[in-house]
């Protein structure tokens, strides 16, 4: 394992979502994210294939961010499409959830 300043670099667990994250599908996304966080402290959700994000989806992201914080972990989003990014920006969520354009940029 690579170590830096005496601390282990904890790898990210990457989950991939696709299609819509809304009131219909949000529960499934939330279950998957929370299950991953129970196993790994750092979870990133790849949004490359997500075409639609509603307020129900935003609540899923917020709940996951809170769970990650409560476990001293981290939660991030990867490469949202323009329309999804617009909703993240409009809602103010892009200011509290880290967003990277590529897996390689997860810190």
């Amino acid at each position: 394992m690579i170590r830096q300043a005496g601390l282990p670099i904890v790898p990210w667990r990457i989950l991939t979502a696709s299609g819509r994250i809304d009131a219909l599908t949000g529960a499934e996304t939330e279950r998957a994210c929370h299950e991953a966080l129970r196993q790994d402290p750092r979870v990133a959700l790849d949004l490359r294939e997500v075409t639609y994000l509603s307020s129900a989806g935003l609540r899923v992201l917020l709940a996951t961010l809170k769970l990650a914080a409560s476990r001293n972990g981290a939660f991030a989003l990867i490469a949202p499409k323009e329309g999804v990014r617009e909703i993240l920006d409009m809602s103010g969520f892009s200011r509290i959830i880290p967003i990277v354009d590529d897996v390689a940029n997860l810190e």
Binding site: A23, Y52, S54, L58, L65, I87, S91, G92
Partner: protein, 154 residues
Amino acid sequence: MKQVKKLNTRKSGPKASRQFGLELPAEVEALPVLAAFAQTVAREAGFPERSRNHIQLALEEITMNILRHGSGQGSFVKIRATLGDGDLRLEVLDTGRPFGFEQAMELYNGIASPDQEIGGIGLYLVKNLMDEVHYQPGTPEGNRMTLIKNKEGM
């Protein structure tokens, strides 16, 4: 999911506005039908993809809000879309409990915080996605939410 009850169109003249209607169960499973309706009327109105997606999201947020806070199981939501020369007007009618529109619209101000419960995000999005949002509780047709998207500047 119950069957969608009706989908009708009315066109009363070459220059008159066109109207489309949809009546669907106030159930989350109706979302795909609602999405298709929103995309169809927005396309008919001549909106580009980005605006069509805004209209779809706004309509879904309003309908989900009715589902969560107003209409109970077994009730229906009526949607009327009027395509005018310069705008698209969507009226969402329900017969459930009216809600405190003004307060709900102020619940969220766009500043997200991981430390607190956030309510009103859906209505906040609607306010930003559409040009006008009006609510009239208790009309003869039920509670009426009106969403307007202008073609100008789209």
